[in-house]
């Protein structure tokens, strides 16, 4: 972890002492500060905070998107918690998260461990190759993978058939469609988690490994007793990040399956998009948005508390 620099950056700036006079009166400083802040605060206030408040209001309305609004209390939330489509979308999103998070995180960690040693040949080539998918959009990734697993002309399908694995029409298969869209997300995002793990590994002091070696610890013992404990903060960060990404899955699903077959890849954000922009059931879609918002906030809060604790540990 980049513990020392982070700790340094978090510390409030050193008192300015005599120089403070040069920066003018407190009132003048306040005015200047707000002038610097104004453009960003106006944008964020107007386009993030206000819509959030507005979504909360709409979630208590029967609203169709044509200006008709009627207060109906908690009815949208009742629908959210009883509607079988929503239940399926929530379960699909959880299934997606369960498939995605461990796969992406373990792949990223394993590759970071392999590539951490400076003696590894072609290290920077591998690092670049593994990170390239991160700059490719989900949509393009979805096109490429759809073609690769096409039942007729897909190259990957063809090769797998050569090895005796018959996948058939993956995106039309209720059991395989979800793993397929998850695979695209793993492909696109694991490189990001990989470089975060690499940075975390670089920050583990070599002296700890020396000490473990002196105690006669082999590679496995060193991994278990030095690397993984020292990496726990990075691990927590990556896990939360991956789970948030999974909760918000949309792009490649929209392209590859459109939520199908028979709703088997219909996630929460797909459901919000459909109810809000196709069926124009704005109130219901807003209630659904708040479910997503609260789930994300809870995960972020876990992360924030975790890192807040680390901050305190470091500054004490």
């Amino acid at each position: 972890m980049h513990a020392p620099p982070t700790a340094r950056r978090y510390r409030p700036p050193a008192p300015l002492g005599g120089r403070r006079r040069a920066t003018g009166s407190p009132a003048g400083r306040n005015a200047r500060a707000w002038a610097f802040l104004a453009p960003a605060l106006i944008i964020i206030g107007l386009f993030v905070v206000w819509p959030m408040v507005s979504a909360l209001r709409l979630s208590f309305m029967d609203a169709s998107g044509f200006g008709r609004e009627e207060f109906i209390g908690l009815e949208n939330y009742l629908t959210v918690f009883t509607d079988p489509d929503v239940r399926d979308a929530v379960l699909n999103t959880l299934w997606y998260t369960v498939l995605f998070t461990p796969t992406a995180v373990i792949a990223a960690l394993a590759l970071a461990l392999l590539l951490n040693s400076p003696r590894m040949p072609f290290r920077s080539f591998f690092r670049t190759a593994l990170f390239v998918p991160f700059v490719v959009s989900f949509a393009v990734a979805a096109f490429a993978w759809s073609y690769l697993i096409d039942p007729q002309v897909g190259l990957l399908n063809h090769w797998l058939r050569g090895m005796g694995i018959q996948l058939g029409n993956v995106l039309e298969d209720p059991d395989l469609a979800m793993p397929a869209v998850v695979l695209v997300a793993v492909w696109k995002l694991f490189g990001f988690y990989f470089v975060i793990f690499l940075a975390g590994l670089q920050d583990i002091p070599a002296s700890l490994y020396e000490a473990a070696r002196m105690d006669g610890a082999g590679p496995w013992a060193r991994l278990r007793s030095v690397t993984l404990p020292m990496l726990s903060n990075t691990m927590a960060f990556v896990l939360v990040f991956a789970m948030i990404a999974a909760l918000q899955a949309f792009d490649q699903i929209y392209v590859m399956t459109g939520g199908g077959p028979y709703g088997h890849t219909q996630t929460l954000v797909m459901e919000i998009y459909e109810s809000g922009f196709r069926k124009l059931d704005i109130g219901f879609a807003s209630a659904l948005s708040y479910v997503l918002l609260i789930a994300t906030l809870l995960l972020s809060l876990v992360q924030f508390l975790f890192f807040g604790r680390k901050e305190k540990d470091l500054s004490s």
Binding site: P5, R9, R19, A33, L46, F138, A139, Y290
Partner: protein
């Protein structure tokens, strides 16, 4: 001593060979989708749909590239992508760095509360505010305009937080000296702090550009006119349930869509990867 060294070499080598072999295999799988995009883009239709399929084209052709540019208002979409991603990046860098400067360098009342509030908005997923945001943009008459695409993202909490962290790490002696010489706050910001923050601005800029160029949901929602979409959203118009557009054409479009980003990334990859990695940790 030398015997021990030889033993260690013997211990290490098979492991390293295995590791390199594993890395080659993983990299091959990871690069396969990119390879299929590049090679299929230049394959004749007959080969694209041939069985058994092959990775490399037998003969190379520009037919797919020609066809995708005639199926879509292609130059327009690529131009829109540059305007949208570039516009968001330019505005966000200016507004974020101004705000970050105040939070990092000016000692004003309410600074801590404001910082916490900004971090809190960082946790709001944009998907959750999409519907009222769309209504707002529609009320402003900004659907299908560049303003509607760009303005809502002209500043963001992540960028402010990221730059604030960086500004805090810069030494404060020089700006104090500049102030004593009578420099205004804005002058300190522009001529002292910003020039020293170029690496952070570059990283944030590329990160913002990539995210917006690649975004699908945003242009999908804020543009209904196919002339106003981005290349990322425009390509999805070609797919659809019937899947009538040939794979070769899709791959040619995909290649054009990823080319600018992949080139930019390869040019500055080392610094970008390092900065992204440490960014994630803050």
């Amino acid at each position: 001593m030398s015997a021990a060294y030889r033993t260690r070499l013997r211990d290490v080598r098979p492991g390293t060979v295995l590791a390199v072999a594993a890395l080659v295999a993983v990299s091959a799988v990871v690069l396969l989708p990119i390879a299929i995009i590049v090679f299929t883009a230049f394959k004749p239709v007959a080969e694209v749909n041939a069985y058994p399929p092959s990775l490399l084209p037998g003969t190379w052709t520009l037919d797919n590239v020609r066809e995708v540019t005639s199926e879509l208002p292609f130059a327009r979409l690529v131009g829109n992508s540059f305007l949208f991603a570039g516009g968001v990046t330019a505005f966000a860098l200016v507004f974020d760095s101004l705000a970050a400067y105040a939070l990092a360098r000016i000692d004003f009342a309410g600074r801590k509360v404001l910082l916490v509030a900004i971090i809190a908005t960082l946790m709001i997923p944009f998907q959750a505010t999409l519907i009222p945001l769309y209504q707002l943009v529609a009320d402003l008459g900004w659907v299908n305009t560049y303003a509607g695409l760009i303005a809502p993202r002209a500043a963001d909490a992540f960028g402010i937080f990221f730059l604030r962290q960086f500004f805090l790490s810069l030494p404060r002696d020089v700006d104090a000296a500049a102030r004593i010489d009578g420099a205004s706050e804005f002058r300190v910001f522009r001529s002292v702090v910003l020039p020293n923050a170029v690496p952070a601005l570059l990283t944030l800029g590329l990160f913002t550009f990539v995210n917006n160029w690649n975004d699908l949901l945003w242009p999908l929602v804020f543009t209904t006119d196919s002339e106003m979409g981005t290349i990322t959203s425009g390509l999805t118009l070609l797919t659809g349930p019937s899947g009538i557009v040939p794979h070769g054409v899709m791959m040619a479009g995909s290649l054009i869509a990823i080319l600018p980003l992949v080139i930019a990334f390869l040019l500055i990859q080392r610094r970008f990867i390092e900065n992204i990695a440490t960014t994630g940790l803050k």
